[in-house]
Amino acid sequence: MSSVAQKKGFGATLWDWLTTVDHKKIGILYFLGGGFFFVVGGIEAMLIRWQLHKPNNDFVSAGLFNDLITMHGTTMIFLAAMPILFGFMNAIVPLQIGARDVAFPFINSLGFWMFFFGGLFLNLSWFFQQVPDAGWTSYASLSIASEGHGVDFYAIGLQIAGGGTLMAGINFLVTIINMRAPGMTYMRMPLFTWTTFVASAMILFAFPPLTVGLFFLTFDRMFGGNFFDHTMGGNTIIWEHIFWIFGHPEVYILILPAFGIFSEIFSTFSRKRLFGYPSMVFATVLIGFLGFMVWAHHMFTVGLGPTANAIFAVATMAIAVPTGVKIFNWLLTMWGGSIRITTPMLYALGFIPSFVMGGVTGVMQGAAPLDYQLHDTYFIVAHFHYVIVGGVVLGILAATHYWWPKMFGTMLNEALGKVTFWFFFIGFHLTFLIQHWLGFWGMPRRVWTFMDGQGWNSANFISTIGAFLMAIGIIVLVYNVIVTSVKNVKVANDPWGDGRTLEWAIESPPIYYNFPATPLVRGLDTVWIEKMEGNETGLTPAEPIKDIHMPNGSIIPLLMSLGLFIAGFGAMYRTEESWGLPVLIFGLLWTFVAMAARSLQDDTGYYIKKDEILRDLKRKGGQK
């Protein structure tokens, strides 16, 4: 675990990444893993749009189309959007609160590997040619009736990945509660840290229902359970409740960190303190709270009765209030600011009208009587893509450009970044705006193809063109990343020049212990305060330089997750193959032995000596 920079062989580098517990490296792993699945989900989306670009198309079969829509939704939500956001949380939140790592570095690594193996498990279904095909919501009657192992891949893959997510949530909560630097009170935390905090709390309370629901589904499909089988006394609506008690908070888990990202960007590139900071915090917490109160608005047409529908309709519309507070605060942050239109700022500017449109259509569907008309039409597809792509994905792309120098030490090309933005932004609206009308004109969701002469042809064709523009935008981004990495021009601490929060006061990328001395936080936007007072380093240390306690790397998280991955195959083939049960037991035992090994070894970390830190500081001294 030496910190001295030295040439390492490929094997040693690989081992380093497989065993790392450093939050910055795990952030990059999440970013790369999520980015890979984002591309996979994107390809699935392109195939869907190509199938629908003309009437009576037979580019893919009806069965394959079901596979594609199911895997597109599941991959994008669980394996792309969330892990990429986790990547930014990992890379940035400890820096923003002045910490040297997260509270549980080992569990952090375990969370990543469980996500990775869960995602791998789910996507291996393509190679077994038994792909989940019951939709990303996998409503019970449909998912129980689905033949082959498709839905089994869904249930077990998400179970493994979901466990990792739950651990990541607890980890961020404890990190933010316990590891803040001196002076970093709750009301001085940057908004991205706040939204991470609230999103993590939502993960803690939203993911256990998903765990239970997936167990029910697993039991019903693989172990002879009867939770959802009405002929055995089961109740198929239970799945819908459990899924949406998880699923609705999930969309806020995705959007809140994006809100945090945009809050940072508006403030930085308006060179102004975030307008209405306390109300922003309050709105974030309120959204987190209300997010748990509205799940049944996904179930208006189930027939829960007018009273239940009315209560959930009102609760749903109430969420528009704190969201509106946020929109106005962002607008007023720019008001009178000295605005710089950088790539991240472009995304932030594009985000406001896009997300507002998604929000407004959300309120429309919140009106239960109208929802009876809109339910299961393309209007719904348009709505949730406006909030997820117009909110979360724009946020992810903005953060990619904004924090790239902090994560990788180089700046993405600004001109290419703006090209990406315009292709993606125009393509996005071209794809999804027209789908609102398609919904009004009666085109149902999830249909494999449609007949000629219903007036849907040109709208679907326009939508497909838009999807290709988005794909071009992403290809430009990938090109940008490759060019930037090859050139590898290193940048200084604060390459945007207007950084306000602690991550911009240390080098890019930060040294593995982040802060030679824990910083003293003197207010909201502490680095900005220091710079205004003429302190060019942007930091006031809270303590003298002394030995630093650091965690040891470990391969055990990878091994634990691998055991669950193996057990998953055993559970799936338990009834039809003789090796099924032994493999299931072997995989679980493997995981338990790995857990026991972790428990029995005394891993109390190690210390970096003061001399070594001073040596690092001296070496960097020339650059400042």
């Binding site: 509270a103 549980f104 739950l166 607890i170 980890n171 909560l173 404890v174 509660i177 316990n178 590891m179 803690l204 309370f205 993911f207 256990p208 229902p209 765990t211 239970v212 629901g213 167990f215 029910f216 039991f219 019903d220 172990f223 002879g224 359970g225 009867n226 939770f227 089988d229 002929t231 055995m232 006394g233 089961g234 109740n235 239970i238 459990i242 008690i245 026991a596 428990s599 029995l600 005394d602 109390t604 970390g605």
Partner: protein
């Protein structure tokens, strides 16, 4: 952290379970984990209540006929007592009395083992009556709820057994104090869940 640092009852901190930053993190993290577990059991309870007594047409089992309160009463007493003995163990943890702490934890483990064996007997008795996991929605919900609790008890037993043997020769330090303490939190949590199972499943099943 120095694992070999020796303490006396006088130098031992008042709250050894959260005396260091790592310990504080584990302490808070474990409380949060229990919060998530609460939601997990709440979901299982809700499903059980929805599917109680529900089966295929001609289904012959009901809570009134199935459950036998005397057995469940004994199980309840065993588990409640084991919670009390774990409190005694924590009292000795605070006072740096390692031997007595280990003794009370061993007693806790034995009471928990007794509970688990009675639960295994109860389940096998029901299976003998034909009330199997695959028999109906009611049976699936019952075995999943009560069985998930039983699985938690089993995990707790393995955990405390490992802790007792692992630390038998080296005594208390600020590293393993947190482990003991979080085990006791976990054990109380399991106990509280059982109180709800006793009420919602058994009492309301037989009387309600």
């Amino acid at each position: 952290m120095d694992l070999n640092k020796k303490f006396t009852p006088e130098t031992w901190p008042d709250h050894p379970e959260r005396a260091t930053l790592e310990a504080k993190n584990k302490f808070v993290g474990f409380w949060l984990f229990l919060g998530g577990e609460t939601i997990l059991f709440a979901t299982l309870f809700a499903t059980y209540i929805a599917l109680k007594n529900s089966g295929p047409s001609g289904f012959g089992f009901s809570t009134q006929e199935l459950y036998e309160l005397p057995l469940v009463f004994v199980m309840t007493m065993l588990l409640l007592t084991s919670s009390l003995t774990s409190v005694f163990a924590m009292y000795h943890l605070r006072n740096y009395n390692f031997k007595k702490m280990q003794l009370w934890l061993a007693i806790t483990a034995f009471l928990g083992l007794g509970f688990l064996m009675l639960e295994v007997y109860e389940f096998s008795h029901y299976v003998g009556l034909g009330f199997t996991f695959n028999n109906s929605a009611f049976s699936s919900a019952f075995y999943t709820l009560v069985g998930t609790h039983g699985f938690h008890v089993a995990v707790g037993l393995v955990w405390i057994t490992l802790l007792i043997f692992r630390n038998a020769k080296r005594g208390l330090n600020l590293y393993n104090a947190t482990k003991y303490y979080t085990f006791s939190l976990y054990w109380h949590f399991i106990d509280v869940v059982w109180v709800f199972i006793f009420t919602v499943v058994y009492l309301m099943g037989v009387i309600g």
